[in-house]
């Protein structure tokens, strides 16, 4: 059974979703952060792809393009001991609180 990113030939008669959307600010930021991490030697494209492919099926199916990048960057930063999951979760809670 191929893994979820290995899409070719999965039986599916659904029409192809060709809808476009304007890039949102957070998506531009994710793209920029990806470049910064690359320049700092904290990730390369192959590592990013590998991390995206390691997402569990439900998550892979549910996340949008740049959400997948975000999840993959978190995996790579935690793996290299740049940040811990706890630090990231704590920051997310702070941001949520500030917003509400």
């Amino acid at each position: 059974m191929p893994r979820p990113h290995d899409r070719g030939g999965w039986p599916n008669e659904d029409p192809i979703d060709r809808t476009e959307h304007e890039m949102e600010e957070w998506e531009r930021r994710v793209d920029s952060l990806n470049s910064v991490l690359g320049e700092k030697g904290l990730k390369n494209t192959d590592q990013l792809r590998r991390a995206i492919e390691s997402l569990p099926l439900e998550k892979y199916e549910a996340l949008s393009y740049y959400e997948k990048w975000t999840a993959a960057m978190e995996i790579l930063l935690v793996e290299q001991n740049v940040m811990t999951t706890e630090e990231i979760d704590q920051k997310m809670q702070e941001l949520e609180r500030a917003r509400s």
Binding site: P2, G9, D46, Q47, R49, R50
Partner: protein
């Protein structure tokens, strides 16, 4: 000068894609595995992404080829024109000679 595997195939050579689905990062989709195609172009040697994906050096570099397959060889009940082709980039360590 980075070490590179020597080029084994040339344009026109028949090649068969190896079959393997390791749990690691690979660049060879399942739908071409085991299929026989033809070398359409030799791009040169590149760092191996299957090593780079884990922070490795990607050496020795692997020759990368553009391989041509008949779509009718890839899909059961292919509904497009009979002469439709697929061109796909495959690294040498995934290829065996089929001549």
């Amino acid at each position: 000068m980075t070490e590179a595997e020597s080029v084994r195939f040339g344009p026109g050579d028949k090649v068969q894609v190896r079959v393997a689905t390791p749990p690691t990062h690979i660049r060879t989709p399942v739908y071409v595995q085991g299929k026989t195609g033809r070398v359409d172009a030799v791009y040169g040697a590149f760092h191996n992404p299957e090593s780079r994906a884990y922070g490795g050096t990607g050496t020795p570099k692997q020759p990368l080829y553009r391989i041509e397959f008949a779509q009718t060889d890839l899909w059961d009940n292919y509904r497009g024109p009979a002469d439709d082709k697929l061109l796909i980039d495959i690294y040498q360590h995934w290829l065996d000679s089929a001549d």
